[in-house]
Amino acid sequence: MSKPVFHRPKYLKDAPFHYCPGCGHSIIHRLIAEVIEELGIGEITIGVPPAGCAVLAYDYFDVDMGEAAHGRGCAVATGIKRILPDRIVFSYQGDGDIAAIGTAETIHAANRGENITVIFVNNSCYGMTGGQMAPTTVLGQKTTTTPGGRTAPLHGTPIDLSQMIALARGSVYIERTSVHSVRHILKTKKALMKAFTAQMNGRGFSLVEILSPCPTNWKLTPVEACDHIEKEITKTFPLKVIKDEIDADRQGPP
């Protein structure tokens, strides 16, 4: 008798994704839904989708979802969480959303130690608007606003927001993972588990940065895009636990 070992998670609505073939957003959505299911928090979770390719995230997650303006996910999540401290609140943000226009909101939510979880999908470009340079675009990468490839003198260098957020004393858990291979997908899920659990335990601000393929704007096939993450993007954005103070005593001054 066959035993199902992989099924569609409960908190993903039965709707086909609008994402491009091979898009990392889809994988990340599924992982979040799995984590919500496994932690049993589907009925107390409120999500905040971004303006970005994942703008329609509320069409997929079967939990309460409230839309934020571009970049303001952390501010909106802060408002929700403060009113409903016993609910689980996450914001889902692209790299443009979080590391450009939302820089201040994100850093300060982390600094306040808001007890929320942020999923930061780094696909090193503005996917939704057609592939412009993001603050995270790696050097040399061609985008529609860096037609000759990003160069440091002309466009600045890729920003490592997660490291900055790690300096914010209210952040407790920050990890950078990727979804370009099975192994990394599993690691990402673990990181998400850890982040949501930290929130459930009232530890403070957690963030998982996830490197995510955007085959369309990278002009690569999905398989090539995954390869590109492995070989190129991780050079600029190495995968690692950036901060883990989940178990630290955080009562006194830092």
């Binding site: 066959s2 035993k3 199902p4 070992v5 992989f6 099924h7 569609r8 993903l12 086909p16 994704f17 994402y19 491009c20 073939p21 091979g22 898009c23 990392g24 957003h25 889809s26 994988i27 599924r30 291979s181 099975v182 997908i185 599993l186 085959p215 096939t221 999905p222 398989v223 995954c226």
Partner: protein, 85 residues
């Protein structure tokens, strides 16, 4: 369970691919350790040539599905269900 004639090992699992959900990204194909997934040669409803499980019960594949679920784990469109036989 019936096994294909000239395979050396047995099939320990199998997968179901939702043909019309698949967007032919090819990631499942790239990660299947047994190389038992390929592209179909007919279009699906969306207009893609979707992935297709090659290790059907009566198929003639060299390797066999182990039910490792790698394909499902990486499938962006949650098009694959995996079963251990």
């Amino acid at each position: 369970m019936a096994r294909s004639r000239n395979s050396t090992s047995t099939r320990r699992g199998h997968i179901l691919i939702e043909r019309d959900t698949c967007k032919a990204c090819g990631l499942c194909i790239s990660v299947c350790p047994q190389q038992v997934i390929g592209f179909s040669d007919t279009l699906n409803e969306k207009g893609y040539y979707p992935a297709e499980f090659l290790d059907q019960v009566d198929a003639d594949t060299l390797n066999h599905c182990t039910g490792c679920a790698f394909c499902a784990i990486i499938c962006p469109d949650v098009a694959i269900e995996v079963y251990r036989d």
